[in-house]
């Protein structure tokens, strides 16, 4: 920016005569900034920059504080169990034996299950909205998909308990166990409350993230890529596959990983349908437990320092995993959109 080199005539003069006249333009605002105004331009600039810098530093400090608090307060558990904490599968608060493996397993399985369901759907929606759909429909369609992102997690959970879970236990799970029961993934009593339910509700929740990032990435693919493919005689699908999707691979991958990050940390909806039992079962019909869910259920009731510390260590592990996953995703999306910020979805 070439701003600092521009002449600012009043800057060194102590009397703000000229600037007073000039600033009559936004007269309505004058009084609200009277404090700064009296200080004069140069000092005002310095104070202003300093204040804004403080806000920027607050962002850094927040992340630092999160790390510091998590590390500090998980210390007891770290000293007591070491690396065994992440390999043990006993979770026994009464005897103060803590192993986080069932939670790690539950978090990973439910998240990957969600990705398995969400990725094809989200990419399909993104491709449809950017490449196939009539321009008239484009706006409403992306609005509806983004509306999915505006629904609070707890409402998803509520819907999952009273609608999704009954559907699963009455129709989907019996069907799956009849047809695919031999795989061992779909066996056991179809209660509905299960890893499968958690995976499905997570998938519904991360679709808007993956699809909105994918849409953005597809839109920055240069138009001439499409035109070139079509000029060579490609059908529309061939154009999309060769000219668009192949160019957008890195960015789509970024969107998927961002979705994964969200799925890993998602708490409420999962807690409400996963069954909350710290066991590792092969069947997706069995209840499970995730890292975020155990925090939600047990944190405020944790008695004893070791128990609380063990829970915070789970929080720390969850934090580290999501940080790595998100950083990776952001880097991928950044390389594609060339540093333009990936729009924060809300």
């Amino acid at each position: 920016m070439a701003i600092p080199s521009l002449p600012r005539p009043h800057m060194r003069g102590p009397e703000p005569v000229e600037s007073a006249k000039v600033s009559d333009v936004p007269a309505a605002r004058k009084r609200s900034f009277a404090f700064f105004h009296e200080i004069g331009g140069e000092t005002g600039d310095r104070v202003f920059k300093f204040l804004m810098l403080l806000c920027g530093l607050a962002v850094l400090a927040t992340l630092g504080l999160i790390v510091y608090q998590l590390v500090l307060r998980s210390g007891i558990s770290w000293h007591a169990f070491g690396f065994k904490f992440f390999a043990g599968h006993d979770w026994d608060p009464v005897n103060e034996q803590f192993g986080a493996l069932p939670f790690i397993y539950g978090t990973l399985v439910s998240s990957f299950l969600a990705l398995l369901i969400a990725v094809p759907l989200a990419i399909g929606v993104a491709v449809f909205t950017t490449e196939m759909c009539p321009p008239r429909l484009r706006g409403p369609l992306s609005f509806f998909v983004e509306l999915l992102a505006a629904i609070p997690s707890v409402v998803y959970g509520l819907w999952a308990i009273f609608v999704l879970v009954p559907i699963l236990s009455n129709y989907v799970e019996p069907f799956l166990s009849r047809t695919l029961g031999w795989t061992g993934l779909f066996t056991g009593a179809p209660y509905g409350i299960s890893m499968l339910a958690a995976g499905i509700i997570l998938a519904i929740m991360i679709i808007p993230i993956i699809s909105s990032i994918t849409r953005e990435v597809l839109m920055v693919v240069p138009q001439h890529q499409r035109e070139a493919a079509l000029a060579l005689g490609a059908t529309r699908w061939e154009m999309i596959r060769v000219g668009v999707l192949r160019n957008a691979r890195a960015g789509i991958m970024g969107g998927i990983i961002l979705g994964l990050g969200r799925a890993l940390g998602e708490t409420m909806a999962v807690t409400m349908v996963i069954g909350n039992r710290p066991e590792i079962a092969k069947s997706l019909f069995a209840p499970g437990y995730t890292m975020a869910s155990v925090l939600a259920n047990e944190f405020s009731e944790a008695t004893g320092d070791v128990y609380l510390s063990a829970l915070i260590e789970i929080g720390l592990a969850l934090f580290l995993v999501t940080i790595v996953v998100n950083a990776l995703a952001r880097l991928l999306v950044w390389t594609v959109t060339r540093g333009q910020p990936a729009r924060a979805h809300a």
Partner: protein, 293 residues
Amino acid sequence: MPETAKSAGQTVLPISLRRRITDHVMTGVAVLTVIMVLVPLFAIFAYLVYRGVGSINWAFLTQTPKPVGESGGGMANAIVGSGLILALASILGVPVGVGAGIYLAEFGRNRFGDVIRFTADVLNGVPSIVIGIVAYSIVVLSQKHFSALAGGVALAIMMIPTITRTTEEMLLLVPQALREAAYGLGIPRWRTTLSITLRTATSGVITGIMLAFARVAGETAPLLFTAFGNQFWNLRTDQPTAALPLQIFNYAISPYDEWHRQAWAGALVLIVLIVTAVAAVRFAVRRGGFGAA
């Protein structure tokens, strides 16, 4: 593609049946995915309205919860409590978020700015439950009890990165010439930023704030062990406070039909508030013209 070679002499290359079928099938698949995504959306809204409208009544909006077994009662204290927590979060989060956004847009076109930018993006992805733990460690442990303030701090931490990034984006959309015109008139830089740049981008910045607000309004996880919940009225910032999402959660996992009914009513109220906020902002921004990214 062997077909192209075969018919190279023709001016218009015929497209083989296989390729045409693939094209149609893939279009069909894309349409199918859209339907499969929209079905749960409409199912959720339809069921929410169906269960919620039947359960909302005047008592729900004006009374505090009744003990188990007694019918009636409502979530008035939770609605007000949510308002209190969100107000605290906004007071703490909005100035910092907007300030950091201004810093990034006006002074942060460098390495250090990139570090903050990246930190904000990463912070945006930290699980909300982890932020709850941190707010618990900082506020609850020092106050020795759960409080609305702790909930507000947790939600503020979640608002900051979103507001920072959207504010920056919106300020960067303001034409450079506008800033230069202001400097040319001799207006100091801070004054230009506040009265010209920020003012021009107001609608966009407010959109960002509202999106952050809508996002945290439905958050439950960070409130579980910060605001904690309360069956009674509370307006003090240092006391446990009920919040709408918390109450929905507690009622949803309870075994009582009456409470399930109220959970649906609460969910409808919550979602109407959020969707209204988002839609109103979208509408306002589209009308205002500037700032729509």
